[in-house]
Amino acid sequence: MSPPLLGVEEEVQSSVSSPSVECISENGMGLKERNYLGLSDCSSVDSSGVSSNLNLATELRLGLPGSQSPERETEFCLLNLGKLDEKPLFPLLPSKDGICSSSQKNVVTGNKRGFSDTMDGFSEVKGYVYTEKSWMFHEAGSDSESPQSVGHGKYPGNSGVNVILSTRSPGVQASVKQDEPANVLQEQPRATNGTSLKQTVISNNTTGAPAAKAQVVGWPPIRPFRTKTLAASSKNNDEVDGKPGPGALFVKVIMDGAPYLRKVDLRTYSTYQELSSALEKMFSCFTLGQCGSHGTAGKEILSESRLKDLLHGSEYVVTYKDKDGDWMLVGDVPWEMFIETCKRLKIMKSSNAIGLAPRAVEKSKANNKKEFGYGC
């Protein structure tokens, strides 16, 4: 989550000199406003003379004094914002992980690059917010009737560059092909004043991520294969810290139903017991919720053993995703082997874990993946 934010902030802070085209590159309008997760700019140029829509949750209206304020397209933007704030990646994972575990390695058919993108490094996707740029355009040639005004020529209709955003909500995003956002935007009325609506939509790159920044389709001109591969590389570098050698080994921990994820450093434990206690403590607040009791009193009542029951008994199982992308039950292999292969942890409801069986260390790399994928 943070990367996109960071990126946006950097941009926002760059200085703005004047409403001329050059500023566009620096994006900065001197705005220090928050752009939540760099989302969604549902900006588009439409015929009503309104320039881009700003997706910012705030009242922030683009621009320097005298420029047109963009209207907002509330359906898209606010909806996105709300959802995105609350649920960074989580909603995607439970439904997606199961499937994606089996296809971690980029299951891609001709049409569905979007899915693989959601699996791969969505959060790593860093787009940048073009809306500011479009706004600048508007100032430069604020007469939307003649996009080619001003000596800047270019930017035909202003619309070209902006596009924006991708999705309505993470949930929707996950299930939507990459092409869909394009359709969504294209539903907007075309400019009738001669300005063509250059509906470009996001995702030139791996934008399964709800946090993807707004981008122009197809810009910069890089093959998606390259973008995905690089995103996967950096993800690997992030998560699997040391291969040999010491150093923290942080892996994400997901729990079904929890609104956010946690991270644990596997190297701080030396046995499965220690790990499971730690997990219980970490997620006790959620299990308490499940039990229907709240507060510290509740915590005391729920002893460790009770929690264990919850976690290891009928309610939950702890699973992990290994190097091959398979979801395995925790506890089968020696601890040292486990920490070398574990990429992330997931605490699932038992009902969802049907199909996961204790596996032998040597597993076949055949179609078992699919079973597990659906089982998760």
Binding site: S25, P156, G157, N236, N237
Partner: protein, 572 residues
């Protein structure tokens, strides 16, 4: 020439290998046409919809090697829907039916299904070479079929394809009797491979010259493979992560030193930068180095590596090399001809680490530079003018400023003069991609000076129709023109429709051309297919001629409208 028997002419024609020359030869007279067509073994088709497989087979019954390209270039950037077209199956089917002795198939931007691969593997006994670049639609099952059935397979080269990876077992499908492999490249596969099968395959392939591994091949396997194949010329390393103090690393060092023939190195999909010193012994011989998928390698480690590569002719790198790193390249790689600098963080606009300075340094230090792909933060006219002076030999010049309409940051001017200098100085320029703030002026320069230009890519540029007209009028050798987000409308499109018949294709998206304009072209030029790609369903409801067209792709063809277009493609 009438005095020579056909066999003699055929023998003479054998020495003519370039497609262009053979095409010219076939136009001389009927008898030359006949001799040429029967003796032709290699055919290149730049647009698979310009001709049909049947006509191809009819003309060239001796066909052994076919190269096909499918989708337009902008499909690489998600501007073309995935199922637009470019299916290879009908071609393979037709070739198989006609008993063509196909030995080599090279495809780019085509949709290749597992069925196609299976049919391919079973239909051509002497099939030797499969090269797939930027294709999609197949899985490792299709590769398994190729491995299992092509008994004389020499080359399996997969470059940047989207492959649905079902893991591992396809490599085991190479039979024990397969010992003919010369080139194996599966770097783009994301799944595990059967390492034992890989080792055995390499062991029994004494002619193996090119091996590019994917990320799933770990270091210790790499070391074993190198021990078995010291004759390698081209190596792609998958994973290069290990402990510099380990036994595996020592063994690797020894193994690498034995590989005295390696001239080309790529991969490093996962890399531990502190272990690059094992590579130094072979750096001195390298002519091609591709580190464009190795974001883990940067800073001093990268520079040190480069400093060992004095014979480098082609370098593909990420922009984390920085201007400073490019300075090191300029000092070290005096033989450099091709440089590609890719963005490591394309959507984080503030982070591109190279600017015009790096390019100027390279141009000054590497006078043989003739091919460039450069993604950068910014560019200035002064820099471009300097580069043009330093390197007049450019054949390909592709500049991508990450902010597509950024002017010269020093002068605030458009980059017209800079690109103008490039086209004026580089008289052999064949391919040009523009970016940055540009007006009609740059197109005037291009029209005036870029006489050899064959391919031009334009985005977010120009002020008016004049820009496009300058280019269409001036560039006589233009074959491919692709335009996005420019204010070119019907006036420019319709000015000289005959020109499009001299070109392979024209792509215009997010421009000002209207449906009426496109219809007009289609009417006047029956030899062109004019396709409108519109996924928004607007075309169904609103067929107003004045409506702007989102994406138009037109190309010359001898076989009329294609039958496999999806519903959102209208062929006028």
């Amino acid at each position: 020439m009438n005095y020579f028997p056909d066999e003699v002419l055929e023998h003479v024609f054998d020495f003519i290998t370039s497609h262009k020359d053979r095409n010219s030869v076939s136009l001389v007279c009927k008898s030359w046409y006949k001799i040429e067509r029967y003796s032709r073994q290699r055919v290149f088709i730049g647009n698979c919809y310009s001709i049909s497989p049947e006509r191809l087979i009819a003309r060239f019954p001796g066909l052994k090697s076919l190269t096909l390209k499918g989708k337009p270039h902008f499909a690489d950037f998600n501007l073309v829907p995935h199922d637009w077209g470019g299916f290879v199956y009908p071609w393979i089917e037709a070739l198989a039916k006609s008993r063509i002795g196909l030995e080599e198939l090279r495809l780019k931007r085509m949709v290749v299904s597992d069925e196609s691969l299976e049919l391919l593997s079973k239909s051509f006994v002497n099939f030797k070479s499969l090269v797939l670049v930027s294709c999609e639609g197949f899985t490792t099952d299709g590769l398994a079929a190729i491995a299992a059935n092509c008994r004389f397979l020499r080359e399996l080269d997969l470059q940047e394809n989207e492959v649905d990876d079902h893991r591992g077992h396809w490599l085991s499908c190479f039979p024990e009797s397969c010992t003919s492999l010369i080139s194996l490249n599966f770097a783009c596969l994301r799944g595990e491979v059967n390492l034992g099968a890989l080792e055995r395959l390499v062991s029994r392939s004494p002619n193996l010259k090119s091996l590019r591994l994917n990320r799933a091949v770990p270091l210790d396997t790499l070391q074993k493979l190198l021990m078995r194949a010291p004759q390698l010329v081209d190596l792609g390393i998958g994973s290069y992560v290990h402990d510099p103090f380990s036994e595996a690393y020592n063994k690797l060092k020894i193994a690498i030193q034995r590989c005295k023939s390696i001239r080309s190195l790529s991969g490093f999909l996962e890399v531990a930068p502190h272990c690059m010193s094992a590579i130094y012994p072979i750096c001195g011989n390298l002519t091609f180095l591709n580190l464009s998928y190795a974001p883990g390698l940067h800073g001093n480690k990268l520079m040190k590596l480069i400093q060992h590569c004095r014979k480098l002719q082609r370098l593909w790198i990420l922009d984390c090399i920085g201007d400073k790193g490019l300075g090191v390249v300029a000092l070290t790689c005096k033989e450099l001809q091709e440089l590609r600098v890719f963005p490591s963080d394309p959507f984080e606009a503030g982070n591109a680490a190279v600017t015009e300075e790096g390019l100027v340094l390279v141009s000054a230090g590497c006078p043989k530079l003739n091919s460039l792909l450069y993604f950068c933060q910014q560019m200035t006219n002064a820099a471009l003018i300097t580069v043009a002076k330093n390197c007049p030999n450019f054949i390909r010049f592709r500049l991508c400023i990450l902010d597509p309409i950024k002017p010269d940051p020093v002068t605030n001017q458009p980059l017209d003069e800079g690109f103008g200098a490039i086209v004026q100085s580089c008289k052999g320029l064949k391919r040009l991609s523009l970016s940055g703030l540009l007006t009609d002026q740059v197109f005037l320069y291009i029209g005036m000076y870029a006489e050899q230009l064959e391919m031009l890519s334009i985005a977010f540029a120009a002020d008016s129709d004049k820009g496009m007209l300058y280019v269409l009028n001036g560039c006589k050798k233009l074959r491919k023109l692709e335009i996005r987000d420019c204010p070119f409308g019907d006036a420019a499109l319709l000015e000289d429709v005959g020109k499009y018949e001299t070109m392979r294709s024209l792509w215009m998206s997010s421009c000002e051309v209207t449906l009426g304009g496109c219809k007009s072209v289609a009417e006047k030029m029956p030899s062109l297919n004019v396709e409108i790609i519109d996924e928004s369903e607007q075309m169904e409801f609103n067929l107003d001629d004045k409506q702007k067209v989102d994406k138009m792709y037109l190309y010359r063809t001898l076989v009329g409208h294609r039958k496999d277009a999806p519903e959102y493609v209208w062929i006028l």
